[in-house]
């Protein structure tokens, strides 16, 4: 009997359904789960353990390259913590967005680490791997059928964009997890997934209200970030038929009605609704009440099922190979004239190393102290006494990028300009060599909603592989 079937049997026939404890072990598995809070959570005997492992936030490099942001050793450590706990309690363990972006390559890299951990700990269970790479022909068909829509300021999709992308993933919802549970999975490792689905899939399949379950999932997927002070410790959500109670597993973190309500704002363009593949969560009607100083009860969010399923798709495309230059300056005349100086040096570089018209290299400079972080519409009233320069060249090959940035470095160091005082050199290099190859540059080319012709198509987009460990 699978961990889920045992859970189902234990609550079947009970009306109302008993309180269900969902432990959010981590919102970023692989960066080091705080162990004390996790242990406190495990001591509460959760009915299900969930962990999120990925996000689109770290940028297009992980989706484009298929490489993980977390280290293999820390990923193994965190997997060992959640895996041993879930198997000891014999409860379902769900992990979403494996390996940062949730590509198939990342999913299978994490799966290999998980197998090694299981073997070392002598753990045996049914593992489900759910893939989230989107078949290109399916996306192209959706584009041609007018079934894709941009999210925010990104170009509408066309066939070339789809075919040129290095990777395209889709965010799976509860549907994929439900299929894996039905196949007898004790542990589910999913590619790109809605962060909510990881925590709401089991409660919804057990029949708890989708609105409350999804709202709870939306809050606990970031573990204890919704608390004061916010943190990365495990968070416990206790769900019943009418609402849920939130409690951080670190006693120093307090969930208050305001701190939890404020979490609906976090990383959301719209604080009142959360779109999922199979419906929309409305939290405008939610109520937040203090249970005590560090626990909050929440209820009242509404779930509106969508007549037509849709999937959020994410894709990244290769831009070029990158080399960077790091340097500082403390010369008032240089700082005052830096924009003109950089423009002149870029011209010099173009004369010495003419860009290939087929794939011209691009030079970027960020002037920290002036406008390195924010693209301020106005310059500062008083110039800083020091600035830091980050130069960047993106070219067709790593060799070309490095060659160009070295030319820029040397000509910038010795560039003469009107009023120049420091004729020994314009730059302070903190490191030697001051320029270095910085890997491949990608950009997001797909961030769209793809609506499906038939809701049943969801099951074909996210295939499951079962294996017995």
């Amino acid at each position: 009997m699978s961990a889920f079937d045992k859970l189902l049997a234990s609550i079947s026939g009970q009306s109302p359904r008993p309180p269900l404890r969902v432990l959010a072990a981590s919102g970023q598995l692989g960066y080091g789960i705080p162990e004390a809070a996790l242990k406190a959570g495990i001591a509460r005997k959760p009915h299900v353990i969930g962990a999120d492992m990925g996000s689109i936030d770290p940028g297009p490099a992980y989706l484009g390259s298929g490489n993980m942001a977390t280290s293999p050793s820390m990923t193994a450590r965190d997997l060992r913590l959640v895996l041993t706990a879930a198997r000891q309690l014999d409860v379902p363990l769900l992990i979403g967005s494996a390996g940062t972006a949730g590509t198939n390559s990342q999913l299978h890299a994490v799966a290999e680490i998980l197998r090694q951990v299981a073997a070392k700990e002598n753990l045996h269970f049914n593992l489900a791997l759910i893939e989230a790479d989107m078949p290109r022909d399916v996306v192209v068909e959706a584009v041609n059928g007018g079934r894709t829509q941009a999210i925010g300021a990104i170009a509408a999709l066309d066939n070339d964009t789809v075919n040129d992308a290095a990777n395209i993933v889709g965010q799976m919802g509860v549907e994929a997890f439900h299929r894996a549970l039905a196949l007898g999975a004790d542990v589910i490792l999913a590619g790109r997934a809605c962060d909510t689905a990881v925590f709401s899939a089991v409660p919804i399949l057990l029949g708890y209200p989708a609105g409350e379950a999804t709202h709870m999932a939306k809050i606990i997927e970031c573990s204890s970030i919704c608390c004061i002070p916010g943190g990365r410790d495990a968070m416990l959500g206790t769900l019943d038929e009418n609402g849920f109670v939130l409690e951080s597993m670190n006693p120093d973190r307090r969930a208050t009605p305001t701190s939890v309500a404020a979490h609906s704002l976090y990383e959301q363009a719209d604080p009142y609704t959360v779109a999922e593949p199979d419906g929309v969560l409305h939290v405008d009607s939610a109520q937040y009440e203090a249970v005590d100083e560090r626990r909050v009860r929440v209820h009242g969010a509404r779930w509106e099922p969508s007549p037509r399923a849709s999937v959020k798709i994410e894709g990244a495309t290769w831009v070029g190979e990158r080399a960077i230059l790091m340097a500082g300056a403390a010369d008032a005349r240089f700082i005052e004239n830096v924009e003109d100086i950089i423009s002149a040096v870029k011209e010099t570089a173009r004369d010495i190393a003419p860009p290939d018209p087929a794939h011209p290299y691009v030079l970027y400079f960020r002037h920290y102290g002036l406008n390195g972080v924010v693209d301020w519409p106005e310059p500062p009233e008083v110039l800083p006494r020091e600035i830091f320069l980050l130069g960047e060249c993106i070219a067709a090959t790593a060799e070309e990028a490095k060659a160009v940035i070295a030319v820029v470095r040397q000509h910038l160091l010795h560039h003469g300009f009107p009023g120049r005082l420091s004729t020994g050199g314009n730059l302070a290099f903190p490191l030697t060599p001051p320029e270095m190859s910085a890997g491949t540059a990608y950009r997001f080319s797909v961030y769209h909603i793809m609506s499906l012709e038939n809701n049943a198509d969801l099951s074909t987009l996210f295939p499951i592989r079962m294996e017995e460990l």
Partner: protein, 100 residues
């Protein structure tokens, strides 16, 4: 009073790679209402501070947390070459000295 002195939290972050959101949280409902009704904290005033046009900025009040949410399009999609802030976590600076 400047926003840096009246708000408890002023944070910016991506809302997906194509949009950026700035949350301004106040301790008290009174300060929230003052900010909400301030003629200096409008979509056009914020747009001017970021070099955007007014229709690229939206303000959404969220009374449950005494908060104002500002949503704007990113000039560059997060992580695109030339971007300055992949997470969008340091884009709140231009609002700090806004006088309510």
């Amino acid at each position: 009073m400047k926003l840096i002195d009246s708000a408890r939290v002023i944070r910016s972050k991506n809302a997906g790679p194509t949009q950026m959101t700035i949350d301004i949280l106040f301790d008290e409902a009174e300060a929230f209402e003052q900010a909400r009704n301030s003629k200096n904290l409008t979509e056009s005033a914020i747009a001017a501070r970021y070099g955007l046009s007014q229709n690229q900025v939206r303000i959404i009040p969220y009374p449950a947390a005494n908060a104002l949410k500002v949503v704007m399009d990113r000039a560059l999609i997060a992580g695109t070459p030339g971007d300055r802030d992949v997470y969008g976590a340091q884009q709140h600076g231009p609002l700090l000295d806004l006088v309510l």
